[in-house]
């Protein structure tokens, strides 16, 4: 039984999604089939407006599909749950709580019944330690940089010890250097924790560097999965070494070709 779930830990079966608008029903997604292995890192890439964030929100349980079935570990996803943590694009930290309190809120919810207050606090500081932010634990979100905020967001998600980590363009709002730094850190953390991850991105390099498979989506409306590209680069991966790697550059150009030749976004 566990074997089956290892291969299809997260399962999307013929999922479609539509939103009611003033002009009628807008069909955002259609016929999405995707199986995600346990411990796999999946990137979803596509032009903006193709519904990649919608896929993530469906797995998170923040949205319910118009039709089709979503399963996690063999059970239907009917709503959000602590087994699927989300790192939001705009970090979504509560500005009136310190970094530590923001993480504690998540820890308390997931482990509150099992642990004492001291154990919960230890978990909180361990999570902040993991992203290298112990020194900023007592700071408020508006006192720290954008990169640090996003790290707290990651710490909050990881502190829940989720089965699946969902990342919605986690580094999109950061400058290139900070982004590279955080990508490296995320790679290390994911290597250690071994949890399954689904990341929405529009950054080709980020997708190739981090992923085991890249899911490339066609343009909406009624967007669907155009192609799935396996990234068989050995881990651990090093950014600098990969820049010269022919496989890496081949994969990179594959994604670029998909985005800019076959599914180029028409100029608005």
């Amino acid at each position: 039984m566990d074997k089956i779930y290892q291969e299809k830990y997260v399962q999307l079966e013929n999922v479609s999604m539509s939103f009611p608008t003033k002009k009628g029903v807008f069909e955002a997604l259609k016929g999405i089939h995707l199986n995600i292995r346990e411990g796999e890192f999946i990137s979803i890439i596509g032009h903006s407006g193709c519904g990649k964030s919608t896929v993530l929100n469906l797995i998170a349980g923040l949205l319910r599909p118009a039709s089709g079935l979503l399963l996690c570990a063999g059970r239907e996803i009917t709503g959000p749950g602590p087994d699927r943590a989300v790192v939001f694009q705009n970090h979504s930290l509560l500005p009136w709580l310190t970094c530590s309190e923001n993480v504690y809120l998540a820890v308390e919810r997931v482990f509150g019944k099992k642990g004492t207050k001291e154990q919960l606090l230890n978990r909180t500081s361990a999570a902040l330690d993991l992203v290298g932010l112990s020194h900023a634990a007592e700071k408020r979100p508006n006192e720290i940089s954008g990169g640090m905020k996003q790290r707290v967001g990651i710490a909050r998600a990881l502190a829940m010890e989720p089965k699946v980590l969902l990342l919605d363009e986690p580094f999109g709002a950061l400058d290139a250097l900070t982004r590279a730094h955080l990508q490296d850190e995320l790679m290390q953390i994911m290597g250690r924790s071994g949890c399954t991850a689904v990341m929405v991105t529009h950054d080709v390099d980020e997708a190739v560097l981090l992923s085991d498979r890249i899911v490339m989506m066609t343009n909406g409306p009624a967007a669907t999965i155009g192609e799935i590209l396996p990234v068989e680069l050995p881990r651990p991966r090093a950014r600098l070494a990969l820049a010269e790697n022919t496989d890496y550059n081949h994969l990179r150009s594959e994604v670029l070709k998909f985005l800019y030749e076959r599914h180029a976004k028409k100029a608005a």
Binding site: A60, G61, L62, P80, G81, P82, R84, L105
Partner: protein
């Protein structure tokens, strides 16, 4: 600057020559060449400080003068009007009346003749009680209405219909239910203060960013945690606005309510002085009501700043 350093160099070279003849004196003067520069620095510092002070004084007068002119103009118009009219007392008799009143604000000659201090305190107590109860009931109601669409739709017609009604229209109901004047006045304050409380709190709750609510959903927070960790801190500034608005309304209404109910209070006092044809005291009361209202507003604005998380 260059001129000063040149002078320094020439004076040191002179000192060196002189030091051969009189070493003791040379030692004494060798420390002085640095002096002209330090004096210049000091002068500059003094000048800068003077400029800063001048600027500060100018700012102070720019802040002070327009309101002073406004008040002077107001007093002049008032004096002119009182000069032309028969019964309206001018600024000077009013001032004397005010001095007399405030020199003994807390005398007590029975319920119909008490010092102005007692009257103000009694009015403030009524406002405080009515207002406090309005906050106690209005804020949780606002939370519920803002959080749940069903409750909001349920409450919309009632609030929409009752809010525009003058709070004084509720006074007879208060008299009927409580069978006493004092609770009826408090009841009127309660009714006047509760609508801004409910509405602003509800608006605040409904404006909580979707991001924060998504966090709550993903973390699967309980309703209690959502209320205390997300809604309450976010809504606090809105609540402070509602408190400010409703204390303004309550303070407006108390004068009218007390005129009707009697007892000890600034509103009743105004009516009493009217019956005594003591118009100076009525004008003093108008100023007192205005100044107390202004103070309440200022205190709450300060409190609001303190509670803001940004």
């Amino acid at each position: 600057m260059n001129v000063i350093t040149l002078q320094n160099e020439s004076s040191t070279s002179m000192n060196i020559k002189a030091s051969a003849a009189r070493p003791a004196e040379a030692e004494e003067t060798s420390s002085t060449p640095a002096l002209p520069a330090s004096i210049a620095d000091m002068n500059r510092a003094i000048e800068e400080r003077a400029a800063r002070n001048r600027q500060r004084i100018r700012d102070f007068f720019q802040w002070l003068l327009p309101p002073m002119f406004g008040l002077m103009l107001f007093t002049a118009v008032w004096a002119l009007a009182s000069y032309q009219s028969d019964g309206l007392p001018g600024p000077i008799p009013t001032w004397h009346a005010a001095v007399a009143l405030f020199s003994d604000p807390f005398y007590d000659n029975g319920p119909n003749d008490m010092g102005i201090g007692w009257n103000i305190l009694n009015s403030l107590e009524r406002v405080g009680l009515g207002f406090g109860m309005a906050a106690l009931i209005g804020i949780p109601l606002g939370f519920i209405i803002g959080r749940f669409t069903f409750a909001s739709r349920m409450a919309a017609p009632i609030i929409g219909m009752l809010r525009p009604v003058s709070p004084l229209a509720w006074l007879p109901i208060g008299l009927l239910v409580f069978k006493a004047a004092d609770p009826a006045a408090i009841w009127v304050i309660f009714i006047s203060a509760i609508w801004p409380m409910i509405i602003n709190t509800a608006v605040g709750v409904s404006k909580v960013p979707a991001d924060y609510m998504n966090v709550a959903k993903v973390l699967n927070l309980s309703e209690w945690k959502i209320a205390t960790r997300i809604l309450f801190p976010f809504v606090l500034p809105y609540m402070m606005t509602s408190v400010r608005l409703s204390i303004g309304v309550a303070w407006l209404v108390i004068v009218a309510a007390e005129m009707l109910t009697g007892g000890v209070g600034i509103g009743f006092w105004v009516w009493d002085e009217w019956n005594n044809l003591n118009v100076e005291h009525i004008i003093v009361a108008i100023f007192v009501v205005g100044i107390v209202g202004l103070l309440l507003e200022q205190i709450l604005t300060l409190a609001a700043k303190k509670f803001s998380y940004e």
